[in-house]
Point group: C2
Chain length 645, copies 2
């Protein structure tokens, strides 16, 4: 681990103006935030109602009625407020800020005297607090509220929300250090990483210690969650007849002993993010090594090529090594967000950019796939292969949707994507006392203060369609270091500094250029042609198949370009791939063409299901488009992995 953690840049100091990301980040203030506000207020026609604001109004005593929605419904507002906070950092909007202030006012009114904040329990079980940690999601909900409050404070400087959540966190620190709750842990992790953030803005050690205690207790005996239903104060929330599955909640063994990513994927990566934070803060090598093992297990045995995680539709969870079915997986958008959060922290505490390859994969493929290009509909589940006909309600494929949905009754993903896009700057750039780290080749302008002075940086790039990035640094002859991530997929790197070729110095995945900056230009080019990729042959689902990738961008076949029955399409890997930038396709993307063959469905014309005669094939041309953009041109089949000749 590093002596000094790399800091996320303050979002007020960065503006993103990237062509690739701009298709989505540009939607945050224009479409997503207003749309999601409507959703929270149940004003989106034909969409599942949220009830979220209504629940707060009832809890605040402003309205009659009862709680509706999931136990964690409050988090939709939390994530919306966090997205609003981030958006205000780069696009001030007094009207929106006023709406947010009003929502915060409402949250304050819904808070109970002792600091407790959760509309589900306040309305349905008044006075009964923390009586079902396994299912109740109170600590999870507080975690999201704290994250939002910290973001709102950091961007606006207003501390009302922060004070509300400090009071709530104080209650949590008090309650969960009592004898009664000395073994207690949250059912769904999230509070841990939020308390770390709260510590970072307030400097109050008790929040960090509480986060550490929750992490330390996890997997220890007695297991509070397994035994919770025997406690006298237990409330049965979900009437689930099944016993608690300890792996599901990562509480099967102590976290320091864990070496496989188990259970509910979102819970897992939120936990690992907090573990990384705490390992760094307490210089806890054992905990850090657990983080490394879990990271390795994910990327080498349990992750889709798209950066998706969670192979099982049922329980939204990890299963076993190399079990990566493409058509029935969950790969929740939130899980890839959590994976990106974990990877970001691992780089922040080690200075090693290799984790960012995974972060980038998750962000540019699965997270972006989670949202439509108009910002108005969402995937919760991100399969790598879809045949719309069999995505039927009340079947094993019911969780897989062939089109993005307007909203969900359980709507964790849409606002999670919104807050992630709105805080993209935190992923693009880190800073330390010497200068900056450019993590993603993304068009952006930012400023950072070194020990010697300020650097103003302007990044322009043709990424991801071309490996060409220009970084202009203006400063007052300030000494500093520019560290620019050179991804693992970059070949033939060529660096020019003020027009002169430079022998690149790469440290831990970053190109390092140091010196006194005045008005300097770093021009970086590298090759990242489209290529055919194969899976480890232990991945049974991908044997005999190939995928097409270009840099971090994973491609797919869609029915609109390639006809139906994509399972019957083969790519000829001996033929060259052709790249073509198409400005009119999907807002401008590089399309990849390949040769191959496909089954002649018509050759099997007697209607029989099985017969002793081989299927015939015909030659075909294949067109691949970025997976992140799939499903934006109507309804049809999609496949990432393609049979190969």
């Amino acid at each position: 681990m590093l002596r000094n953690k790399l800091s996320s840049i303050n979002l007020c100091n960065i503006a993103v103006h990237d062509k690739f990301w701009g298709k989505y980040t540009g939607l945050v203030t224009k479409e997503i935030i207003p749309y999601q506000w409507k959703a929270l207020n149940d004003e989106v026609l034909d969409a599942e109602p949220s009830h979220c604001i209504s629940n707060f109004e009832i809890a605040a005593g402003l309205k009659e009625g009862s709680f509706q929605g999931w136990v964690f419904q409050d988090t939709d507002l939390a994530k919306w407020l966090e997205a609003v906070a981030f958006s205000l950092s780069y696009e001030p909007n007094p009207e929106l800020e006023k709406r947010a202030d009003e929502a915060i006012e409402l949250i304050g009114k819904a808070q109970e005297e002792n600091g407790y904040l959760n509309t589900h329990f306040s309305i349905l079980y008044p006075g009964q607090q923390f009586c079902n940690l396994k299912e109740g999601h109170e600590l999870y909900t507080s975690g999201h509220m704290i994250e939002a409050a910290v973001a709102y404070y950091k961007v606006t400087g207003k501390d009302k929300f922060l004070q509300i959540m400090k009071k709530n966190a104080d209650l949590i620190c008090e309650v969960f250090n009592t004898e009664k709750y000395k073994n207690a842990i949250p059912g769904h992790e999230e509070i841990e990483l939020a308390l770390v953030k709260l510590y970072e803005v307030t400097g109050e050690q008790k929040y960090m210690d509480m986060a550490k205690a929750f992490v330390d207790r996890r997997g220890m005996r007695p297991n509070y969650l397994s035994e919770e239903n025997t406690k006298p104060w237990y409330i049965d929330v979900w009437h689930d007849p099944n016993p608690y599955v300890e792996e599901y909640g990562q509480s099967h063994i102590p976290v320091r002993e864990q070496d496989k990513a188990e259970g509910h994927a979102v819970r897992a990566v939120y936990l690992y993010s907090a573990m990384a934070d705490i390992a760094y803060q307490y210089k806890d090598d054992e905990l850090f090594q657990a983080c490394e093992r879990l990271y390795e297990n994910i990327i080498n045995k349990r992750m889709y090529i798209t950066g998706g995680i969670g192979s099982s539709g049922m329980m939204e969870r990890f299963t076993t090594d190399y079990d990566l079915p493409n058509d029935s997986n969950y790969s929740e958008s939130c899980a890839s967000i959590g994976l990106a959060m974990f990877c970001r922290r691992m780089t922040q505490i080690t200075g090693d950019a290799s984790y960012l390859d995974t972060m980038e994969l998750a962000l540019v493929n699965t997270v972006l796939a989670g949202i439509a290009m108009d910002g108005k509909s969402f995937f919760y589940v991100n399969p790598l292969e879809v045949w719309p006909d069999n995505c039927m309600e009340a079947t094993s494929r019911a969780h897989v949707k062939a089109t993005r949905q307007k909203w969900f009754g359980c709507a964790c993903c849409p606002p999670n994507i919104a807050r992630t896009l709105a805080s993209l700057g935190e992923y693009i750039c880190f800073v330390d006392e010497d200068g900056f780290y450019l993590n993603l080749h993304t068009g952006a302008s930012f400023e950072c203060d070194t020990e010697s002075g300020r650097l103003a940086v302007e990044v322009d790039t043709e990424f991801p369609w071309k490996g060409h990035t220009i970084i202009r640094i203006k400063s007052d002859n300030t000494y500093g270091k520019a560290r620019i991530r050179i991804p693992s997929y970059a070949n033939n790197l060529c660096v020019n500094f003020n027009g002169e070729k430079l022998e690149p110095v790469i440290k831990k995945g970053y190109l390092v250029i140091k010196g006194k900056f005045k008005d300097d230009v770093i021009d970086i080019t590298f090759d990242m042609p489209a290529q055919i990729v194969y899976a480890n042959p232990n991945v049974r689902a991908d044997i005999g198949k190939a995928a097409v990738v270009k840099g971090p961008i994973v491609y797919c076949l869609e029915e609109i370009d390639n006809g139906s029955n994509l399972a019957g399409v083969y790519i000829d890997v001996t033929e060259a791939l052709e790249e073509e930038y198409c400005p009119d396709v999907l807002g401008g993307v590089t399309v990849i063409k390949a040769k191959g063959k496909r089954v002649e469905t018509t050759s099997w014309n007697d209607g029989k299901l099985y017969a002793p005669r081989p299927v015939k094939f015909e030659k075909t041309n294949l067109t691949f488009v970025p997976y992140c953009n799939w499903g934006n041109r109507g309804y049809g089949e999609m496949s990432v992995w393609v049979k190969s000749l």
Copy 2:
């Protein structure tokens, strides 16, 4: 349809002594019936308890306690009694008969005054009868009880059980013809085909009419099942928050308009069996045409090569045309039993043997796969591809088991297999006024009475390992017809009659030999070599794959013979298959050898999950064994469909 339906042979007139079937039928009295009696009495160690007998004792007032188990738990005893009845037809057993008589006594005591019989509702909701047809399974349970009573009466001549069930059926005929229940239908079909059987032994028309009414009402508006939860008498049994799915219960459109097999597979084929019965009885061509359409839909679009049906694990149901995933399917043993029942009836009413190809497929592959070769453990779900590592509890694959289970809390399949094996004679042979129809090439002795006299028939066969069957007919110079099914997969048929070659006359799939029989020998040979079969290319799951079959026997690869990672094994279809009868393998089977290649897992030795280099292959020999016998030599991978070169 025929003028006179082909009758099932009376089981008292047939004895099965077949080498292939004998591995299983021989277990019925020796192992399965005693074992299942223990299971019903909760005496099997390490198995889920049944509670079945206990529930009857409580309902009968002989014991304190409450109902435990599924709502349809009574049917386990019904199917056990039916299996016992059938077994007594060929293996008298006074002790077993006494035990059955005592169980029947117990059933009588559990019956209510008005004829009502269902321990679940009698114990938990006394006085509340037929208050949840959607989930309550009362009519389903009565159906199985009636089938058992009919069997017990036909074999033993004792009518106590029959009288109990007549009283129950009388109540049903009364209740379901009242104004209150005029639109009512069973949630799970079964009563319909049972009432037909009751009519057949009693001659009472009202039973047949009630069966017809249930069939006629299905899918009509108003849909009783969709609206049932609004009735004042409704009891919520399962607290299922989801609305009733009409397709799930085949009640989405009138049965005469149905042309796709929809919903829960067992329900569907039980309904279609009754539809065939009723179509024949009432000479209802419209209903018969619906049967034909549904049959065609199943065999041409919705059936596994193993005769399994039901593609979705969730809700054990049909999904959509050509959706036949191999590793996540349900293909319940009971569904294939129901399919065999439906096919048998279709042949009985049409005289057309083509349906029997499907019947045979379901019986010799999926039904036999459902039971271990020691008769003591069972599959409920019959996948065509298993990787034990990912058959994990609390995941999407939780329904798939890599080893047969000792018993199930929901135990419909084990006793259903037992009663099917015990009544195999009814599938082997039909009779009419002219003689017999030999449906399955199976070693058996039977007698049948024609209008002119009695024929005594002895069948010996090398089937299914060789297409060679000898039929000896002894009679008193009686005129008759021998009709012997020539399966669709039989090639180069050669028939000898008393040593002389005969030009075969085939009618509707049966070889017909007529004349006066005295002491005659029919010697039939045909070729049915092992062959490679492919699936219709609309079956996305099987594209690029091949299966090995020999006659009706579907083969599979098992890990014990072929190593692990069967998804990485390819069969070379240009090389000849080699057949070898191995007396020591699986009790004597023909094993099939093939050539192919397999992935070299070790060639991918850097541990990465994805990389731009193809996987290497090595040559391999493949050994296929009958699918019905898989999982009898320990725990491991299995696959029916194999990638093909």
